[in-house]
Each structure stands twice: as C-alpha cells, then as structure tokens.
C-alpha cells in the first residue's frame, strides 16, 4: 500500500502535523482518494515505530504532534519510488470474468454484454474528461490522475474490442477437435506467483 510512502514524501518537504498531512495527501493526489484522520495517525504511529519518522518529544498524541522524516525514512522513500509494483500476475478482473463466462450462459448474447460495458466505460471516460476540461487544468496532480484513469479505461475498451472480434471469430468457426491439447505449463508457472 502506498499511503505510508506518500506520507513520507510529504514529510520529506519538512516537518508536518497529522491534519496537515491528511490535507496535503488529498490535495497532492488529485482529491480522488479519501484518507481519514484515523488512518493518518495509525500510519504515522507505524512509521515512528519502524524508525522511518519521528515526532516532537512532547509525548502526547493527537493534533499537537509534529512529525519529521528520519534518514532511514528518506532511504525507504527513495527505494520505494524505484521499486516496480507487482504486475506479474493478472488481477482477477470482474469485467474480464463477466465477458469470459458470458458466452457460456444460455440465452445470453455476449456481444450485447460487451456493448453494455463499452457504453458504461465511455460514459465514465466522458466524466473524467469533464474533470480534465475543468478542475484539472490548474491542478497538475489531478491532471496526472485523470490521465492515468483515462488510459486505464481506454485499455479496457480496447480489450473489449479485441474480445468482440475473438468471440465473433469463434462463433463463425467450428471448434477445433480436442486432439491437439495446447501446452499450458508456461502459463501455469506465470500464474503460480500469486
């Protein structure tokens, strides 16, 4: 999870109070990921315990406490920024599952299912684009978040396009005899990482 490291990044600019960190977290990530105060203090407590951050030695908890990053925290932050996220195993995507099984449900038109999802995704993209046209024009963080979301949704739509072509092709061609099983060990090995 990235919350501890985003807090470290904010602390790397200078010492800060808990409430301030929460505000800056939300502002700095385009205000699309809410973060509650309890989560902020819990995370700060953990950072302190692990020696990645330290607070003013007043001893009392709560809004009076000011936090700063430690040298070890700075190292951890730099390492995190350069560590690739784990993308090796495909996530169990709900939409992918729906399209995979749609063709097996009697009386279901897989193309209709695909089309319904395509329209929904496009509407979502229209909404994000309105943000890009408005608020995100003066907010770099939000513009970056919006772009990321648009590229992600765009990729899902492209997958739907490809899925539709495959489904149409499969429907037009009779299934191949099962005499030549497709070797799968390569796939298994990839999936086993989960």
């Amino acid at each position: 999870m990235s919350v501890p490291h985003v807090l470290l990044a904010l602390l790397s600019q200078g010492p800060k109070y808990g409430l301030q960190l929460r505000e800056e977290f939300e502002a700095g990530t385009g205000e699309v990921w809410p973060l509650n105060v309890g989560q902020v203090y819990k995370t700060l407590g953990r950072l302190e315990r692990d020696g990645l951050a330290e607070s003013d030695g007043t001893g009392q908890d709560g809004p009076q406490k000011r936090f700063r990053i430690t040298p070890r925290g700075e190292e951890a932050l730099a390492a995190w920024l350069r560590t690739p996220p784990d993308l090796t195993s495909p996530p169990r995507d709900e939409l992918v599952m729906k399209v995979l099984v749609a063709a097996r449900v009697p009386g279901t038109d897989a193309h209709e299912v695909v089309q319904a999802h395509r329209v929904y995704l496009l509407e979502l993209m229209q909404q994000w684009t309105r943000l890009k046209e408005g608020e995100a024009r003066d907010d770099l963080s939000l513009a970056l978040v919006v772009d990321a979301e648009l590229f992600r949704l765009d990729a899902v739509i492209r997958w739907l396009d490809a899925a539709e072509v495959r489904l149409a092709r499969a429907a037009a061609e009779p299934p191949r005899p099962a005499s030549a099983p497709v070797p799968v060990p390569q796939l298994r090995r990839l999936g086993a990482r989960r």
């Binding site: 505000e23 699309v32 496009l122 909404q127 309105r130 046209e133 408005g134």
Partner: protein, 253 residues
C-alpha cells in the same frame, strides 16, 4: 463546474444536423456494399457528437453524407432544417460552404498564405469582400487564442498553433456545423486532447460538431458518443452526470 452551455439560442428548435433513416449502398446488383443502414442522428446547436466504430463500420461515410458531399441511397439529410439532396448544384455548394466547416487530419493549411489568410479563405472563396473576410478570419483566430500569429505562415507556427488556425478556418464566419475526421492526426495524446478541447469550446460558443475518431480518449470529449458497427448505430452514451462524483465529497473534508 458548469455544464457546457447550449450556446446561441437560435437553432435550438431545429437540429443543425439531422439524419433520418439514412442508408448508403455502394456498387450495383450483386456486388453491393452497404456502408450505412438506417441511421438516425440529430445534432443540436452547441452539441458535440463523437462517432466511434471499427474500421469499415461506416464512420467516414456518415461524415461525407452529413457534409452533403455524397447523397444517401435512402433516407433524408437536413442541415439547418434544409434538405440538400436534390438542390441545384451551385446552390448546394454555396450553402455547404457557408454552413459547414471541415477539420482534417493533417489540418491542410495552405503554405503560401498567412494564418489570417488561411482562416479567411473559405469566406473569400464564397465571394465575401476581402476586408470583411479578413476581419472575420481575425475574429476566428482571436477566439482560438492565436490572434498574435495572424501574420505568420504555417511553417512558422508550432503544431499546436497550426491546429488552432485550422479550427479557426473551420468555424470562420457563421458556420453552424463542424465536421471532423480524426482531427488530431498524429499528434501526441496531450496535444490531441487539446484539439478536442478546442472543438468542444467551439461548440460551447454555439456550433454543432460531429467528430469521427477511433480513439476512446478523444471521443470522451464529446457530449454524446455514437457507436457504429456494420453501418448501423449499435449504441450511444447518454449525457453523463457531472464529474463531481469522482472527487471526494466536500463535506467529508
């Protein structure tokens, strides 16, 4: 954030573009290809509609028919309430030039003309006196934020500035309908988005636009997205709610 305005109030009652049961068949006898089949589409003033679909789905045919460059095999096309099919050729061409603006993939600016001359060109071709045409050209450049580039030639402009001049030329005068086929060509995605933003802004000033694109990110700039497949309209988006729902609700802060 305010929703896009409906633009000028004139033209609200009548669609700027209306396709009614439009079909287009190419070829003869056995060798016919049906490019469009019974397409209904209505675009109001101030509205931007994107047309998406796989290649061969009829997107470009729809655009040439909307621009009255071709007549439909079946059905009706009305531009500002007028049927262009069957009009005498000269009158049809004049009307087309006055009402419809085109944005091309590569912008098609004439290299020997300045930005202002390029923007004024459609009016001059239409017989508008030069000073009046130039004034309208300058006004269009100003609306797109490139008035200070008026005296430059296309090769002295950046890619983004060329886009703006091309859009200015498409909306110059009182053009009501903008037709664009993959208008952002080979631009990078940030600049391509900028083209769409400018087109959407033109719509907010009252123009109606139909933009053909295969790119979902560009189509998402439109108020409505129409999906074509094998010449038929297979779906469309409805006007989405405002983007506020995507952000953290204010009261929780």
């Amino acid at each position: 954030m305010s929703r896009p305005g409906r633009g000028k109030d004139s033209g609200n009652a009548v669609s700027v573009l209306e396709l009614r049961g439009v079909s287009k068949t190419y070829g003869q006898e056995q060798a016919t290809v049906r490019a469009l089949a019974g397409v209904d589409l209505s675009v109001r003033a101030g509205e931007m509609v994107a047309v998406m679909g796989p290649s061969g789905s009829g997107k470009s045919t729809l655009l040439t028919i909307a621009g009255s460059l071709e007549d439909p095999t079946d059905g009706e096309v009305l531009v500002c309430g007028m049927t262009l099919a069957g009009m005498p050729r000269g009158r049809k061409a004049r009307l087309r030039r006055r009402v419809i603006g085109y944005v091309f993939q590569d912008f098609n600016l004439l290299p020997g003309l300045t930005a202002a001359e390029n923007a004024a060109l459609p009016l001059e071709l239409d017989g508008v006196p030069v000073p009046k045409a130039r004034a309208a050209g300058l006004a269009a450049l100003a609306a797109l934020g490139v008035a200070d580039r008026a005296g430059r030639f296309p090769d002295q402009l950046s890619g983004g500035e060329r886009q703006r001049v091309a859009i200015a030329r498409a909306v110059v005068g009182d053009r009501r309908l903008l037709l664009a086929d993959e208008p952002s060509g080979a631009l990078d995605s940030v600049n391509a988005g900028e083209v769409m933003r400018l087109l959407h802004e033109a719509c907010q000033r009252g123009v109606a636009a139909v933009v053909v694109t295969h790119d979902a990110q560009l189509a998402a700039w439109a108020d409505r997205i129409v999906l074509l497949r094998d010449g038929r309209m297979t779906g469309h988006t409805t006007r989405p709610p405002g983007p506020e729902s995507l952000l953290i609700p204010r009261e929780t802060r």
